[in-house]
């Protein structure tokens, strides 16, 4: 750690410079994201208008299109229908279409949630147990095992797509939530073990020894004393695992179709349904972005808390 900062306070000029650089950088990275969010609130026409509209009349058409299936109807048919019951039906009718039912988006989105959080929990939990063992016990061939765990990350996961596809079909794991959770956990586990081992190594073993002398078993000491202190590492690891399994596309395309399909392979299919519906795509990606963002913001306080601990004098 850079200890010089504690007594060499940066000058106010360099602080301002740093702030300016960060603001410029933030603006640059936020442009595409804000454009995406803006697109989600445009209507189909203003989304593709040229020159692009920066100021526009907001519309929820994208979100309506994202959550519904529609079919185009003739004007006579539309006229023959009773008056629309609500605002979104009216919006769809104005496009000469009727709502035929809810789209698959909500189902795909909740699949993403189940698989994303499920595999994140499994990776962090198993990773923490393994990391603790590697950190504390005399494990035979420890270094080789750790290297083996790391080596599972040395090829792109998709390189094993075919064997996994065949295995999953034989095992009946294809297109199931459990299958996808297992797969993402396997991919994330090596990262989780390595990251968490680093954090566990930093926790002096005296803590669990104290707890064991105080009458707790090693497992109880692990949950009551070690895990709370590894919160920083657990938060960081959980964010990494979540980002991977939330964003994963290739395996999701290959292994899921109906039951367990996640949002990433679903979003591109919106393009196919009824022309290039940019507002709906914008709405889908905006909603897709939110969980990871909220998850990171929630865990952020643990990331910061780690710095202020320090109850052990070294």
């Amino acid at each position: 750690m850079d200890t010089s900062r504690s007594y060499l306070e940066p000058s106010s000029f360099s602080k301002k410079m740093a702030a300016a650089i960060i603001i410029v950088y933030a603006v640059i990275t936020l442009i595409p994201i804000s454009w995406m969010v803006m697109t989600s609130f445009k209507n189909v026409d203003s989304a593709i208008s040229y020159p692009p509209e920066v100021l526009f009349e907001p519309s929820l058409e994208g979100y309506v299109n994202l959550f519904t299936n529609r079919s185009r109807q003739s004007q006579e048919y539309l006229d023959s229908l009773p008056a629309p019951e609500n605002w979104y039906e009216e919006l769809v009718r104005s496009r000469e279409m009727v709502i035929t039912g809810p789209s698959k988006f909500l189902g795909r989105y909740s699949n993403s949630m189940i698989i994303g959080f499920g595999s994140t929990f499994a990776s962090v939990f198993l990773g923490a147990l393994a990391a603790y063992a590697f950190s504390r016990f005399r494990v035979p061939l420890k270094d080789d095992l750790l290297f083996f765990i790391l080596s599972t990350r040395m090829f792109p996961p998709i390189a094993v797509a075919v064997p996994i596809f065949i295995m999953y079909r034989k095992l009946g794991l294809g297109d199931t939530h459990l299958g996808m959770i297992i797969l993402y956990t396997v991919v994330n586990l090596s990262l989780a073990v390595w990251l968490l081992k680093g954090f566990m190594d930093e926790i002096p073993k005296e803590y669990e020894e104290a707890a064991m002398i105080d009458g707790y078993s090693r497992l109880q000491a692990f949950f009551k004393v070690v895990l709370p202190q590894a919160m920083t590492g657990i938060a960081a690891t959980a964010i990494f695992c979540m980002i991977f399994s939330w964003n994963e596309y290739a395996f999701a395309v290959l292994l899921t179709q109906f039951n367990a399909q996640t949002a990433p392979p679903f979003i591109p299919t919106i393009i196919g349904e009824g022309g290039l519906d940019w507002p709906a795509i914008g709405a889908g990606t905006t909603l897709f972005l939110l969980p990871v963002m909220i998850f990171t913001i929630i865990l952020r306080k643990h990331l910061l808390r780690g710095i202020t601990f320090g109850a052990v004098r070294k």
């Binding site: 005296e206 803590y207 020894e209 064991m212 002398i213 709370p228 320090g310 109850a311 004098r313």
Partner: protein, 360 residues
């Protein structure tokens, strides 16, 4: 409270033997200090008593029960760590209640016992503070408190004052002693600091190389060391040694060292070989200008009320602890001689002291 007894205790890590065949009895209510340089096996011994390490062989008795292979949680002892090991995610009160919660006490009992211990240690005003906001001394008190609330069979302490500032250390030393007198618990205390050991202990065991060399009261350890190591490790500076190139026989009462004759206490034991050591503490030597070993002043250290003068002689450097009024200059020629007969002869083969009128 209980007696602790270790019998033929041995601990090896691979090829390295950390504790060799040790035997020790720590009496009920005794403040017992394990003293030795780092790596001497004192902490390993303590950790075996605690159950944090399992012995390779031998037995440990806590009271009448053999506990050598029991888990730490099954031994009913308390341990105070050098780094305190206070749980940073809990406040002081929760740290103190933690051991009691496991034992299934009622909430009101836990509260009472925690507050009682806190009062005893004068930490009742910080019960709701976070660990990270405490000073070193307060952390030490909380660590002691966590041990106290248990009312265990014995307290084990691994250099608990090691990380404190010198000023705090003295204060905590006094508090520890007072606490021990108040509650009279069997205590095993590990340290490498002989002053701490001397001021706290009822009895001290000096360890080196995994062996317990001597276990005795502090004044006996100091005045009548049983081995050359104990003599040199205890005292600052340690004992002076001169080589004696002759065998020591029974009833002998003088030795010749490089042609100079020195009186020694009447020996009750003969030496095994013809190379032995003459040991004398620095305060039992005086400087003068007409008799004794010739040498020149090599260094002078002021210790406030005393002075340590290093004299370079043909036998090597000799430390002399003198009164502050003795005035010598660097390189001045002086002579050194014993001022009394508190002299110990160590056998050159075993490094053990030979029995004499002075040390029996």
């Amino acid at each position: 409270m209980s007696q602790i007894k270790i019998v033929n205790l041995q601990k090896s890590f691979g090829d390295f033997t950390a504790v060799k065949n040790s035997n020790l009895t720590i009496n009920d209510k005794e403040f017992f200090v394990l003293l030795g340089p780092s790596g001497c096996g004192k902490t390993t011994t303590l950790r075996m008593i605690a159950g944090l390490e399992l012995p390779t062989s031998g037995e440990i008795y806590l009271g009448d029960e053999e506990v050598g292979m029991l888990r730490a949680s099954e031994r009913d002892i308390a341990f105070v760590f050098q780094l305190f090991a206070l749980y940073p995610h809990m406040n002081v009160r929760n740290n103190l209640s933690f051991p009691l919660k496991m034992q299934g006490y009622k909430k009101s009992d836990i509260k009472n016992r925690v507050e009682e211990a806190a009062k005893l240690l004068r930490i009742d005003h910080i019960l709701n503070s976070n660990i990270s906001s405490l000073s070193g001394g307060d952390r030490q008190r909380v660590a002691l408190g966590r041990a106290l609330v248990r009312r265990p069979k014995a307290f084990l302490m691994d250099e608990p004052l090691g990380t404190l500032d010198a000023e705090f250390r003295e204060l905590m030393c006094l508090e520890l002693k007072k606490l021990h007198l108040d509650i009279g618990a069997t205590t095993v205390y590990v340290t490498h600091d002989q002053l701490e050991a001397m001021s706290l202990a009822d009895r001290i065991a000096v360890m080196d190389g995994g062996e317990i060399l001597q276990a005795d009261e502090p004044n006996i350890i100091y005045n009548k060391p049983k081995t050359k190591f104990v003599a040199s490790f205890i005292g600052s500076p340690g004992m002076n040694f001169f080589e004696v190139n002759e065998g020591i026989s029974k009833d002998q009462s003088f030795v010749n060292i490089e042609g100079t004759k020195f009186d020694i206490p009447k020996q009750l034991e003969e030496s095994r070989g013809s190379k032995n050591f003459f040991g004398i503490r620095p305060e039992n030597l005086t400087l003068n200008n007409n008799e004794g070993l010739k040498g020149s002043v090599f260094g002078v250290e002021y210790l406030g009320s005393r002075k340590i003068i290093t004299v370079k002689t043909s036998l090597g450097e000799i430390k002399v602890k003198t009164d502050i009024s003795v005035d010598v200059k660097l390189n001045e020629n002086v002579q050194v001689k014993p001022s009394n007969n508190n002299i110990i002869i160590f056998d050159g083969q075993t490094d053990k002291s030979l029995n004499s009128e002075f040390i029996k």
